[in-house]
Symmetry: C2
């Protein structure tokens, strides 16, 4: 390997072709365990297809090289942020965003789009919801199983046993290592977990109910708003293009995440006007259209799967991300923050399936 190596990119876990898993080599000492190798060794049953009715396809005007720019956003499922998600479906069906723009880009913060003129009338019924940013989790079994306490898992099992396929209750784990792990945690939430494929924070609310809320990670999509108690309608949206701004959790509605094409937002020139809005409208990036994927003519093209966060492969993927132990790493961190565990998502090419 050349000295250019550094290491393979996390984001390459995105858009891994489906064919990769069929050719996956077994994990052996000669094939070191990495997040990518875990994903490649997963089984087809561990992947869940995303409903095209939950995907927004945003088409930006072509860039300097004239190539098309598609940004695909997965909307968050119930019970999270649903009043805003319904507004967004209404806005897409009304073709409300066609002819609007990306008008604000702030380095290590967000790219924001919608109607910079603020005079485009909203469709009937699209108002700022009076809703909570956190949800009391329903007692349905699927949610109880899906809540996956990241820190607890890291405390109770160690990578050496885990990647071999045998989950062992750490009988030989070093006591100091355990003591260190016990004192580590998330900086913002009492627990972090994945629920139905989405990263969540959780903890007691003022009534001591256990609530969960979607967290702001790289590529998260949220609802821009004015000062509290305004919650925004969903017509003005932003995507995170920097370090996870977790201080926004429970203060803004997270409504989705960019699952393809985030680079079309993260590479846009940064705005130099007030709060990073572009100084003149000719600096904006025009939005040609925003549609639900299920309502596009090429609906069969917009097929994506995510690695089920209840699957054994996902559990191993988390453990390996927290304990990198391949030929590149010499000091495993024995911990990971939830935004450093991007859920593997891949495009399915109908032609090669």
């Amino acid at each position: 390997m050349s000295r250019l190596a550094l290491l393979s990119a996390v984001s390459l876990a995105f858009a891994t072709p489906l064919a990769a898993q069929e050719n996956a080599a077994p994990i052996t000492p000669a094939n070191p365990v990495t997040p990518d190798s875990i994903v490649a060794a997963s089984t087809p049953e561990e992947w869940t297809e995303i409903d095209p009715g939950d995907l927004l396809v945003m088409v930006l005007a072509p860039g300097d090289d004239e190539s098309p720019r598609f940004v695909v956003i997965q909307l968050i499922p119930a019970p999270f942020s649903q009043p805003w998600v319904e507004n967004i479906r209404t806005l897409a069906r009304a073709h409300w965003w066609d002819g609007t723009s990306v008008y604000r880009v702030v380095d290590n913060w967000v790219a924001q789009w919608g109607d910079v003129s603020e005079d485009r009338p909203l469709p009937e019924g699209v108002v700022s919801p009076e809703s909570e940013y956190a949800s009391v989790l329903p007692p349905a079994p699927e949610f109880d199983q899906a809540v996956f306490p990241l820190t607890a898992m890291l405390r109770s099992m160690w990578i050496e046993e885990f990647v071999t396929g045998e989950i062992v209750e750490a009988p030989n784990a070093d006591a100091i290592k355990q003591a260190i792990a016990r004192q580590k945690g998330d900086s913002y939430a009492l627990e972090t977990a994945f629920v139905g494929g989405w990263p969540m924070g959780s903890g007691p609310d003022t009534q001591r109910s256990t609530t969960a809320w979607p967290v702001h990670c790289y590529a998260s999509v949220g609802v821009a708003r004015d000062l509290a108690p305004d919650t925004g309608t969903g017509s003005e949206l932003y995507a995170v293009i920097g370090h996870a701004p977790r201080q926004l959790d429970r203060n803004i509605a997270v409504v989705g995440r960019v699952i393809d094409g985030i680079e079309h937002l993260s590479t846009l020139r940064r705005g130099t006007g007030d709060a990073g809005v572009y100084e003149s409208r000719d600096q904006d990036t025009p939005i040609l259209s925003v549609r639900l994927a299920s309502e596009t003519e090429e609906a069969e093209h917009w097929r994506y799967q995510y690695l089920s966060t209840q699957s054994e492969s996902f559990a191993r993927y988390v453990a390996v991300r927290a304990n990198r132990n391949d030929a590149f790493y010499t000091v495993p961190a024995s911990g990971v923050d939830i935004c450093n565990v991007p859920v593997p998502i891949r495009h399915i090419d109908p032609l090669t399936e």
Copy 2:
């Protein structure tokens, strides 16, 4: 405020003109406390000038709009990563990077530069050091004082008292809030702290000495290398352009941080070749020159200050970032991760000083 607001940008804390502090309004209920207002209310004595001999100025070829592109990097001080920092000084003095390029850009990961051809001879003495990535902290008083345990501070004081200027030992802090704070922490290190203006992780090493190491945050600069035990020379460098890749801590040498012009790296098109290297050399961004600021003709222009991490204003800045409580936020996080506390750094314009 318009509904475009979202909130003011973290990165605006960078490059705040010096004049701002002289005009700072007092912090009152009518002027809500924000990270920016804390910085604006700081005193001149709380700022420390960065030695121009610790600054690298990288000049990229002009972009599409023909404007110049300067990237300013602050090198990390002793005792951290010094063998690589010395190599980097030697390379800059030899004009080694002139005519090299930024050849690898991976979304939410890094932009990397140096000699993509790998055939440019290194100056005499520039070899991969055999050195540790973590340092045992010297017993010098300045280091003992400077180690600033972020989590401990958040446990022992609360924003309500703190921002008024009276540091109170939380006699009236809510017991539940304290219990939650005790269970939170950093996901990677036993403690996080600032040492001499730099974010650090710390914890016991295998000999139970307390060590500290520079952490990877947005804009951190590190030494690309081949597989361990190779440590890299410093000729190939990268800057982080996404979520903090803390798993790299103690596995790669952090040698500095971009303090101005990171957007010239973060907006570059993403590479589509192996590991994000550009597929053809005409996609590279040429590097015209890299110099120590003290050795440039316009040395007096490259003057920057950082808010001392031992200052009271910095302590308040951390507390406010962990407890946002202004007109925008309704749920303070009561915690913050160290990479979400960018050290305020500003350019000094000699003409307006």
